[in-house]
Symmetry: C2
Subunit: 133 residues, 2 copies
DNA sequence: AGTAATTATTTAGCTAGGTAAATAAATTTC
DNA sequence: GAAATTTATTTACCTAGCTAAATAATTACT
């Protein structure tokens, strides 16, 4: 890329994802799986559509991730009143393990972003949002 | 993620990649293919190892991408003096088409990043680099 | 009420990243 | 100089995004 912003941004994004996956290995989770678990923890049971709209991802990515999380015992898929929709809920196992995982994540984020002051963190987000899109 | 920086960063990264792919459709290229072509244009012929080290990705990603670029006629793989290594060069077709693609990219980048002042762009990169890693 | 349009989810198949392990050539070591 | 180590590339297989199209259930239309 000619403008160094893009290369820097893409690279940091990949780097952070890899680090996050590394750190989450101890809980046998991938970063995107964690993202979904956290989303459910924060919002309670959600339909697939609610999840992908919330996370700003396309539906098939969520279908696949939920299928995996289900077979691994982290979530359940229940039929909704509207028979088209599936409602996803955290399993007891997930609820039980979530605090430890959350602690891992908080430590990770603190390590990664701790070199920035709170001021700089706000500045960073502001700049991200000021970019088109 | 609990710290909004990560979500914002990952999301913008995904968004920009998608936009870039969209814009590159007119040249029948994907963003990561473009990245490699530009890398070769800037540095001249390179071995696979030089490419993946330069782009900061793992070797298999580059092997795959180069194979595809080769079958599409954008690059050639030549044996090096060291018989282990393959030297990748741009094809005549690529050299010919690169100016038009570059123009597309410059316009894209200007559109995406134009809402930031030059000052802010520097600030942004500085903050990215200040984050750990 | 019956047909058409919309909505939720899934399936199939693509790019693009990653790790682990295989292979082949070059280099180092003894 | 033979054996061991290193290096460059590839292969196989995983996650994770995407689009396009299929399916099934609901809603809207007339």
């Amino acid at each position: 890329m000619m403008n160094p912003i893009f290369h820097a941004l893409f690279q940091k994004s990949r780097y952070l994802t890899n680090c996050l996956n590394e750190v989450l290995k101890q809980h046998q989770l991938y970063s995107s799986q964690w993202t979904i678990l956290y989303c459910l923890h924060k919002n309670g049971p959600m339909t697939l559509t609610q999840i992908w709209k919330y996370l700003n991802v396309e539906a098939p990515s969520i279908t696949r991730a939920i299928t995996r999380l289900e077979t691994l015992g982290w979530v359940q898929r229940l039929d909704g009143e509207d028979k088209r929709e599936k409602i996803v809920t955290l399993s007891a196992q997930a609820e039980e393990r979530l605090p430890a995982i959350t602690a891992t994540i908080i430590a990770f984020e603190e390590e990664m972003v701790g070199s920035l002051t709170v001021e700089e963190q706000h500045q960073f987000i502001k700049l991200l949002e000021k970019m088109k899109g």
